[in-house]
């Protein structure tokens, strides 16, 4: 698959603090790529480097197979960290500047972008009169200007109310359906889990894991089982081949862990029945991103 962004061994220090340590990963074309990590993990630093706001100490990156340049940045709609606009200018004038610098879109596309982010009615108001959520939406509007194929959002739902968050999530889904590549940094895990196809998890400047969401999350099959007699169930499961670990969850069910792709529901069901235990619950569960995240990032 063609890569939109290729990050290769990027490191960055602020004095003694190592903000990024040899980070490498690829963003395939058409992916919704979630960049996850606790506060201070280096997400924004990394995105700043690929947008030429910060200089890496070592390593390199390429957009569309070429080293980063003004020409490559013009093809990417970006929202980095905060909405950055001229406070004394209206939304329209601010987007005129975005349009003139990036060359994306035309006069009509400014109105289109403002309509998408629901600011059209306030297009002539000064940026300084906007609420936090409106400022954020204008920044998303600026990124959408001219309908670029690649979008980069750093915490896109910052400052938005629950309805606004749902709308942006929906918008990101819609954009993904149109085949756009979206790179999104966030610490809101459910947000990422709901929309992302790929994920990278960072902690203190290190990349812990990266890849398609299914692969990152499903490094184990988790089977949840329940029966009248949990002790008996646990006893017979211990004889079952292939289980790596058994956990009691809530006194009503057990979790049995298998290496990825090896759990067969039919076989487990058959084994239990033959051993005289009737199951009242049998589900193959996907590990939640939250569980995975805490597992990876907790010391």
């Amino acid at each position: 698959m063609q890569e939109v962004l290729n990050i290769n061994g990027i490191s960055k220090s602020y004095g003694p603090i190592k903000a990024l340590q040899n980070v490498s990963f690829q963003v395939p074309k058409g992916a919704v790529f979630g960049l996850l990590g606790p506060n201070g993990s280096g997400k924004t630093t990394l995105l700043s480097i690929v947008l030429d706001i910060l200089k890496a100490d070592s390593g390199s990156f390429a957009w569309f197979g070429h080293p980063g340049s003004p020409a490559t940045r013009k093809q990417i709609g970006s929202l980095l960290e905060t909405p950055n606009f001229y406070h004394y200018l209206s939304a329209t004038d601010n987007l005129k500047i975005t349009q003139a610098i990036s060359g994306r879109g035309d006069a009509a596309s400014i109105d289109t972008a403002l309509k998408i982010v629901k600011l059209y009615e306030r297009k002539n108001s000064k940026f300084s009169t906007y609420s936090l959520g409106m400022k954020q939406r204008l920044a998303i509007g600026a990124a959408l200007l001219g309908n670029p194929d690649v979008l980069l959002f750093d915490e896109p739902t910052n400052g938005l109310d629950p309805v606004g968050i749902a709308e942006i999530r929906e918008l990101i889904r819609e954009l993904a359906n149109q085949g756009k590549t979206i790179i999104m940094a966030s610490h809101l895990l459910d947000e990422v889990e709901k929309v992302c196809t790929h994920v990278a998890i960072m902690k203190r400047g290190n990349l812990l894991t990266a890849g398609p969401v299914d692969e990152v999350l499903a490094n184990e099959d988790i089977v949840e089982l329940g029966s009248q007699d949990l002790n008996a169930l646990e006893g017979i499961l211990q004889q079952y081949q292939g289980i790596t670990q058994i956990k009691t969850t809530d006194h009503q069910s057990l979790q049995a862990f298998f290496p990825v792709g090896t759990a067969s529901m039919e076989a487990i069901n058959k084994h239990c029945f033959e051993q005289g235990v009737v199951l009242n619950q049998l589900t193959l569960k996907k590990k939640s991103l939250e569980t995975k995240f805490f597992e990876l990032t907790n010391d």
Partner: protein
């Protein structure tokens, strides 16, 4: 991106910035106002019939008549460099304050184009100041002594010299805003240095250090527009000093170009390397 597109973008930022129009208004009042004050002093001192008035008139000539007006008005107006300097400092520190210095790059400018855009800001503001100066100097020339209007085209070199001096001194203001990033600190340093520190240093150096103060940043370009010609008519020493000042203009033009060029080269060099 061509340079015209860059200028258009900067003009969009400037023309809707209320401080620009405040500066324009204040400069539009200050330039004629200050010159008016001096002109009034001159008229009062020379209008009488008594001997003293006639002597003063003979001595001074009319500093506001053509072609002297170009020189006199340039000298008196250039004292108010701090007004456009405020605007220059605000325009660059605004970019940091709004973080648009990052957004402009994110949207597709190179770092060099960003510095070029700011260079145009300083050029635009210097041009506006020069246009105002030219209008005021021409107005005084026509009004103060209409008989001399035929000599309007003499000493026109003061127009480019005024532009160069304004541009050079606003470049220093830009450098402070560019490096310090905080408007109030940059303005404070600019005022303290420009109005107080350098004047003391130049004055001291004149008597104690063989006039080495002429190489200080503002003094370098201050001396491309020396004191008006009538100052040379108060005795031999003054005449010599005036002629010496006129002779030094080419060297000060060269030094001004050198310093201004070096400042901009430094800004390009610095901006290409630093974290934004």
């Amino acid at each position: 991106m061509n340079l015209l597109a860059l200028v258009k973008i900067e003009w969009l930022k400037i023309k809707k910035y209320p401080a620009f129009w405040w500066m324009f208004g204040i400069v539009a009042l200050t330039y004629p106002g200050t010159n008016m004050m001096f002109y009034y002093g001159y008229s009062e001192g020379t209008k009488g019939k008594e001997v003293a008035s006639n002597v003063a008139k003979m001595l001074l000539g009319n500093p506001f008549a053509f072609p002297e007006t170009w020189h006199t008005v340039a000298f008196l107006s250039s004292v108010f460099i701090m007004i456009p300097a405020i605007l220059v400092i605000m325009l660059v520190t605004n970019e940091y304050n709004y973080k648009t210095h990052r957004q402009n790059i994110i949207d597709g400018w190179s770092r060099g184009q960003f510095v070029t855009s700011k260079l145009f800001d300083v050029v635009i503001i210097s041009m506006v100041s020069t246009v105002l100066y030219t209008a005021v100097a021409f107005g005084f020339g026509a009004w103060a002594d209409y008989d001399n209007i035929g000599r309007w085209a003499e000493q026109l070199q003061y127009i480019p010299l005024f532009f160069l001096q304004t541009f050079a001194q606003l470049t220093i203001a830009f450098l402070l805003g560019f490096l310090i990033k905080k408007a109030f600190i940059a303005l404070g340093i600019f005022f303290f240095y420009n109005l107080i520190l350098e004047n003391i240093a130049v004055g001291y150096a004149k008597f104690k250090l063989n006039d080495i103060g002429k190489f200080l940043p503002f003094e370098i370009s201050d001396r491309i527009i020396p004191s008006p010609a009538f100052m040379s008519r108060f005795g031999k020493d003054m005449k010599e000093a005036y002629e010496k000042a006129l002779d030094a203009i080419p060297m000060h033009i060269a030094l001004t170009l050198l310093l201004t060029g070096a400042i901009w080269a430094f800004c390009y060099w610095k901006h290409k390397r630093r974290d934004l």
